[in-house]
Subunit: 224 residues, 2 copies
């Protein structure tokens, strides 16, 4: 009996994207550029965290940013206004950035003059978690007003990330966000996840987060 | 010359889903059930708004809820605890609910005893906007901590919805959310969009929103 010929679209696309992500990492290695993929819900504070991190790390690292959004270019404009090199990647209807989009973006950047490339992914806790962008590290932001139950609903995102930045801690006074409960829920999904309590508005926790990031980049690069 | 045989997956899936959505609406019509598709970012307050709306409208409408989430069932449990009939639809890895999922869910509901069926879609401002669930009305929530720039980044969601509930207005004191700027941005995308300023915590605006919803359901049903 002849075997059925199976065309499984999903797996093909994923395998192609993984191969492209490997090419992205190869390209980045040529210029010793480290890439961080930053993900969160809409409005959790990705652009603010990038601006604040760039401020702290400017003496140590040359930073550039890829701003991915379905539409608009206001985030890239904010970064350029703060003299952080940035390009805007418009995904059209697409709900996340993938390795192919990053490949198209890299030639627009001065990689030889970039130590750390930060991808600000599309605001979305679901689809970006399923896709390798070519980044060396994945980090997510959860903002306090979103609530402490998010690990229950978006487990893959919490599993896939190396670090969690809990932003807008200045909102803790407003609501019923239970930080210990959040930490328990995260530990259950991803015991190795680093957690930073931060407020981009008051500055709380930014030094600790930035120092960890700098150290982690150094360790990862020493290993390769 | 032979013509190329083109298999365009995306369009096929969309056409299939549209046909299924028409079947959902046909089924709902048999029991005179009106369906509302409620969408927002993670943590914007969908479950809270449903609970509060059910409280106000209980004397006028028999309400049931479909809770769509990638994982967990805590939202359905919250509704059942408040004696609102609810079922949990687990989408697995899927980032939004579609008409096929609703078709599978309808037999689990007592439609003959339901005037208003509310679908709480997966927390996501992108993918749910692209899919017809079979609902008669689409409503989105934007919570104040997310910021007033969201229409610039997620225009399709704002275009597709009949009403916008701006929730967590008790957070207005905290930040730099400009309600007039938001209204201008929304008007630019969707001049017919109804906007309600609400706080599920303080109760602000809930009566106005609920009354509008009740009136709109009556008008839509009179038309069909």
């Amino acid at each position: 009996m002849k075997r059925v010929k199976l065309i499984q679209i999903g797996e093909d696309i994923e395998a192609d994207n993984r191969a492209e992500a490997a090419r992205v990492r190869h390209l980045l290695a040529e210029s010793s550029t480290y890439m961080l993929n930053l993900m969160s819900s809409p409005g959790a504070g990705k652009t603010s965290l990038i601006l604040k991190t760039a401020e702290v790390l400017k003496p140590s690292l040359r930073i550039a940013v890829v701003e991915a959004d379905m539409d608009s270019q206001i985030d890239a404009e904010k970064l350029l206004a703060a003299e952080v090199p940035a390009v805007q990647l418009r995904t059209g209807g697409f709900c996340h950035a993938d390795a192919y989009m990053i490949s198209k973006t890299l030639p627009e950047l001065e990689l030889d003059r970039t130590d750390l490339l930060i991808l600000e992914n599309v605001g979305n806790l679901i689809c970006p978690a399923q896709t390798d962008t070519g980044a060396h590290m994945n980090v997510m932001i959860l903002s306090v007003p979103e609530g402490d139950d998010k690990p229950l609903k978006y487990p893959l995102m919490f599993r896939r990330c190396d670090a969690l930045v809990v932003n807008k801690t200045d909102y803790l006074q407003m609501g019923d966000f239970d930080m210990e409960e959040l930490r328990r829920r995260v530990a259950h999904l991803n015991p190795d996840m680093q957690i930073f309590e931060v407020s981009c508005k008051t500055g709380r926790g930014l030094a600790e987060w930035s120092e960890w990031l700098l150290r982690k980049i150094g360790e990862d690069e020493a290993r390769h």
